[in-house]
């Protein structure tokens, strides 16, 4: 099985389309799920999954089979999702998506009113994409910081710094609106 897997990876690295199809079917769900965590928009996540695999297919010659496919694919997918976040500026669209049907049910804290939650989501959508993506993956989605660092191509210390800056900016934004978290 191991030989079969490494065979597929080697074939993909050499530009074999059948090997690419095999990898696509093995990883499309994981890549889609990862992108959905960032974009919170199922339609965009589907398009970006295709975009990510398109970039993966174009970069096959740079792929190193010994380092595994998943992490490499996740990094490319993260970059595609970040490009998408940067291209979008309309905060209302983002906030609507954040509260959309893709979210898992969460037990609401009675001390936090719906209005505060809405304003927090809006303020979060106004953060710079680089900070937002780190906070989304590490704080909201509770992904391990080492995975977030690998996906963003930065160190764990840099992830922690981005989370800190994201939360500080969020707090300042809320304070301006008269909300003291």
């Amino acid at each position: 099985m191991q030989n079969g897997e490494s065979g597929v990876l080697n074939q993909f690295q050499q530009g074999d389309v059948a090997a690419f199809e095999t990898l696509f079917h093995q990883h499309q769900r994981a890549v889609y799920g990862w992108i959905l965590r960032i974009t919170r928009n199922p339609a965009a996540a589907e398009d970006l999954t295709i975009e990510a695999f398109w970039r993966i297919s174009n970069a096959h010659a740079r792929f190193e089979p010994g380092r595994g496919f998943e992490g490499w694919a996740r990094r490319i997918a993260t970059r595609a999702a970040l490009d998408w976040l940067r291209a979008r500026r309309t905060e209302s669209e983002l906030s609507t998506e954040m509260l959309a049907e893709v979210a898992a049910p969460v037990e609401a804290d009675p001390a936090v009113t719906a209005e505060i939650r809405r304003k927090t989501a809006m303020a979060f959508s106004r953060l710079p994409p680089k900070l937002r993506i780190a906070a989304t993956l590490a704080v909201i989605e509770e992904q391990p910081q080492k995975d977030v660092a690998a996906a963003l191509g930065i160190s764990i210390a840099a992830v922690k710094l981005r989370i800190f800056r994201a939360l500080r900016l969020l707090r300042k934004d809320l304070e301006k609106q008269g909300i003291t978290p």
Partner: protein, 79 residues
């Protein structure tokens, strides 16, 4: 911002923006769309390549005609 504040902000953020359902998957198989993308892109590239080449050729011919008007009958002969 101290650690307590940071934890409070994290909890507030988690309340405001709930995590995505971990079992989410695409609503359809994306491979057919991937194939369409792979088919379309080389064609688009080829098209772009030819458009660029055509433009350069036309530009070159116009330059030749402008600087050497005597070449116009020759160019017209070969068109």
């Amino acid at each position: 911002m101290n650690e307590d504040n940071q934890d409070r902000m994290k909890r507030l953020l988690q309340q405001a923006v709930p995590p995505v359902n971990g079992n989410s998957e695409p609503r359809r198989d994306l491979w057919p769309a991937m194939l369409r993308r792979m088919d379309a892109q080389p064609a688009a590239r080829a098209l772009t390549g030819w458009a660029w080449f055509d433009g350069a050729l036309a530009f070159g011919l116009l330059g030749l005609a402008a600087f050497f008007p005597a070449s116009i009958p020759l160019l017209l002969y070969y068109l």
